[in-house]
Point group: C2
Chain length 337, copies 2
DNA sequence: AGACTTTAGCGAAACGATTAGCTATCGGGG
DNA sequence: CCCCGATAGCTAATCGTTTCGCTAAAGTCT
């Protein structure tokens, strides 16, 4: 691998001049420039990123740490993020914290030693688990979830509105006994969506029955088992609001295995869905978030922070959900309960 | 950010000693070691990866370039790869060539300048598009697809067996007029699967009708439109072999939109499926590949190449598919065609 | 013509680690 | 008593860039 010195020697100039040519950073006479350019080509010289990084104190790396790579929601984020990062001239280093705070801690430290210029983080775990030095000196944008008391920029979704919209829809169909399968309560997303549901019902003088609100990990299996349990009892809800796409799959499977039909026996509305499920029956009624837009926005904020050293105020961007009607809900039959 | 010099000064030792402590690379007396360790902790010193990279000529980065991040098949690979890479002590840099050879070319150059220690590549495009210097000096494993004439290690699947197994299953159910929706013919995967289908039929003295073999991009939309076209004609096949998971979704949607039912009117068998679709109806009958095992194996080979400088012979590992029976196929009715 | 500016390019000092080679100390064997 | 080997740690070179500050040479102004 040729170095800048080889090029300089071959072109009969100093390394400073080669560097100037490479980076267009100073005026170089056409004659010298030509000699340098041919030397570069002949030696197939490519500057060492390592040396450049050391000198410039930059790595051109942006880290993305998501909560669960097996979840299509995050796979979608990864997809968008890769494109956005490349468009900004960086490369994407990907991490999966797998919803484990310990893993996340290791990831944060790794991101730091790698010298990433910035990171987009989908935080896992409660606010008090983070230490401020974990974020020091590295541009950060929190995506999807926020950390209370943290001063990083955030791009989140309006979880309350998502829960409220979905449940309002079920209420409009006449459902009164509505249950929910939702994620861990320490996450702002689960909490917000459930609060939205509760407020939607409260606005009509209703409240979910205690046994009709179940939470578990944001995973298909967890949803399957709580749904199976909840729907096995005789006073089961006539409709379910599921807080997450993969959980919705689990709930539908549980219902099918109990011999119930969706939507005839149980209506299901969710927030978020899984990509590819659009082709299968029944199509889920759900609220969706503009994942690509959110991710692009997160990277815009991040690159902004990286490249302007300016201490702009913290920015919190909240995206609104949209209700997408599928075939997984029906009006409640006459014998309403 | 504290440097090794700060630590050395604070502990009253030389930088060499600090380095020795950090890397356990030479014997240091317990007393000095203790002083160094506390200095490290107090200054919150973390070695600069950039400096280390420059000196060691290593980056601890492994690149993964997949063909299409929007495809759950590759999302699954990314998931596995992240875990494997982390387990080997590296970090994963992710690229999406989006099935575009030009994009892939840029990615290869980027991987090179980043100084990645190795790369796992799902190649896009035909063998003659690659230049040998694009692979020079960087450990490479080809995953899923191979490049004829290339001397990199490969981890692939037995595409021929996959096509053959799936179509044998359809034949066993009595189907004779079997069609196929498959990917671009220049890809070894599409070609192999279709050859497997043709051989399966040939073994029973059959051959697919010309209009019953359609190829298009490995995308849902492409599959939807060719399937719609193919299934619209009166002599449509009674069963379809679909070469890819997302295409299978497209085909099912096309069939539903034509007012046909699966499996009653058309049986569908595929190679590969989409994650999450397991919960929805009807469950696809398909051949599956052990994606996690394949990815792990690819990284094992890669790390092997990176860490042993030895010139072992080229290794080509081929994984076998397994048939998974769902509910998307039925025996052909009496009026067989 | 002398005194400044500007320009084009060079030399060498960073950046922050690793590591080869050296020195000083100590103990033990001949 | 001298020499040798082992031990513990230091000095300084090195990795490949970027960039600050300098020097001639050439141009501009009085």
């Amino acid at each position: 691998m040729a170095t800048i010195k080889d090029v300089a020697r071959k072109a009969g100039v100093s390394t400073a001049t080669v560097s100037a040519v490479m980076n267009d950073t100073a005026f170089v006479s056409p004659e010298l420039r030509a000699r340098v350019v041919t030397a570069i080509r002949e030696l197939r010289y490519e500057p060492s990123q390592a040396a450049r990084n050391l000198r410039r104190n930059r790595s051109q790396l942006i880290a993305l740490a998501v909560a669960d790579l097996s979840n299509p929601f995050y796979a979608r984020i990864v997809w968008s993020a890769e494109a956005a990062v490349a468009a900004w001239g960086y490369s994407l280093v990907l991490f999966n914290s797998d919803e484990k705070p310990d893993t996340e801690r290791r990831i944060l430290s790794r991101i730091r030693t790698l010298g990433c210029d910035g990171m987009v983080l989908v935080p896992v775990g409660a606010a008090n688990q983070y230490q401020s030095h974990e974020f020091e000196g590295i541009a950060t944008v929190l995506l999807g979830r926020s950390i209370e008391g943290n001063s990083a920029d955030t791009v989140t979704i309006d979880n309350h509105a998502a829960g409220r919209q979905a449940v309002d829809y079920l209420l409009d169909l006449g459902h009164r006994r509505i249950g929910s399968v939702t994620g861990p309560m320490q996450l702002s997303t689960s909490k917000g969506r459930l609060d939205g549901m509760i407020d939607a019902m409260a606005a009509r003088g209703l409240a979910p029955q205690p046994g009709h609100v179940r939470s578990g990990e944001f995973r298909e299996e967890a949803a399957y088992s709580v749904a199976r349990d909840m729907m096995g009892s005789p006073d089961r809800p006539t409709a379910i609001y599921v807080a997450n796409g993969v959980m919705a799959i689990g709930v539908m499977r549980a219902i099918a295995d109990l011999g119930l039909r969706c939507p005839q026996d149980v209506s299901i509305a969710s927030t978020d869905t899984v990509a590819g499920a659009g082709g299968l029956k029944p199509r889920l009624t759900r609220t969706e978030h503009p994942i690509a837009d959110m991710t692009n926005e997160a990277l815009r904020l991040l690159v902004d922070r990286i490249e302007e050293r300016g201490a702009e105020p913290v920015r919190n961007i909240i995206f609104q959900p949209a209700l997408i009607v599928g075939e997984s809900c029906m009006p409640l039959r006459g014998d309403a309960g």
